[in-house]
């Protein structure tokens, strides 16, 4: 998945670290933001995590870790995004004493009601948010980022077969959720 950025030589003939880093940001910035937001479900937090990911990436770039940038960057992003979710849940548990309530999208405006695909996509966003973080993450990496199960397995440390079953089980759950939303439920 994704084209591997190639370091251009700098003035001294050595690979230009900053140019390679800029290419990584161009190639992966939007994908990572989308993935991180699917985990944290908060755009501001996702922006913070993306910045943190690239800051760590820059520090490690000299260690030759950019040979598999997808696995490397998504791996860092995954850890940092999950840290954010855990921190938020801990805060919520300690100070609010009620479960973290994920933001729920408002119903689509009347002008949008005729556009089925947009409505389904909006409902899908809501229904993805109802899945457990580990399931949502696997579904998003597979069907939004287009990663192979083997790639996801290498990143998460889980078995590819386990991830396949998790994603397969999630699809009918999403279907039922969307059907309920269509009927005005949930």
């Amino acid at each position: 998945m994704g084209k591997k950025p190639v370091a251009r030589p700098g003035p001294d003939g050595a690979p230009d670290r900053d140019a390679l880093f800029r290419e990584l940001m161009d190639a992966y910035g939007d994908k990572l933001l989308r993935y991180i937001k699917s985990v944290t479900r908060d755009l501001d937090e996702a922006e913070d995590v993306r910045q943190q990911v690239f800051l760590e990436a820059y520090r490690d770039l000299g260690n030759g870790l950019a040979n598999d940038p997808t696995n490397w960057l998504f791996g860092i992003a995954r850890h940092r995004a999950l840290d954010k979710v855990k921190a938020r849940n801990r805060w919520s548990w300690r100070f609010k004493n009620d479960p973290t309530d994920e933001p729920v999208d408002p119903e689509p405006p009347a002008a949008e009601r005729g556009h089925d695909r947009k409505i389904i996509s909006r409902f899908m966003k809501h229904c993805l948010g109802k899945l457990a973080v580990s399931t949502r993450e696997a579904v998003v990496l597979r069907h939004q980022q287009g990663m192979r199960f083997e790639e996801i397995a290498a990143m998460t440390g889980e078995q590819a077969g386990t991830l396949q079953r998790r994603v397969a089980r999630a699809i009918p759950v999403l279907q039922k959720c969307i059907a309920l939303k269509m009927k005005g439920g949930l």
Binding site: R22, M25, G29, D30, L33, R34, K37, S38, L43, A46, E47, R50, Q51, F54, L55, E56, Y58, R59, D60, N63, N71, W72, G75, I76, R78, H79, R117, I120, S121, F123, M124, K125, L128, V139, V140, R142, H143, Q144, F149, A154, M155, T156, G157, Q164, R165, V167, A168, I171, P172, L174, Q175, I178
Partner: protein, 217 residues
Amino acid sequence: MSCELYWEHGVLLDEQGARDEHRATCLDCQRAHTERNALIAAIAEVDAELVGDPQWQDRVWAAIARDATPRWWTRPYVSGLSAAAAAAAIWLALPLLRPEPSTAFAERLDVERAGSGARRGDTPTTGDILHVRASWAEQVWIFADDQLVAHCRVGDTEGCAHRAGELRADLQLRAAGRYQVVIVASPAIEPGPTYDKSLAAAVARGVSYEVKPLVVR
């Protein structure tokens, strides 16, 4: 296979990239398959037009520049004096400064019974394998009776695995005795040959660490 069975089994076959013989002859399953493809297309469209901060790359470069700017306490004469003072203080007070293990630390450590793969908390015996997890921004030192026996950080290969931002140090506990597992919050410090000298080096550099003592029987 009914339509329900497609959702239970056909979906898995499709995720595995396997051929679903039944679907070729079942109209209900074909319809369900089309619905599923529409759902997958909807997943792909979620946040497809997500627009983040247009200045985000500038913010990353600014953070990198901040990181690279030397702080006043890192100037050679300041850091030299601080290091000397810290080393002297730690030499005198080391026995009092050894931190208690934290719960979070305990969760990063597993003891595996040799040969069986079973994990069992804090009662290791000789032959067991100790696994310690840390991030790439950290390193792991393991001491047996105060002598350094294992050292794991990014780039190390012996008894040290790293993947997706995580390090894992693996050590077979060959001898009974007192062990200390130390996770240090920087990969840049060299440990000394002994427990005390290594912790003194961390303190002198102002780097935090956590210690978990273990008794191997």
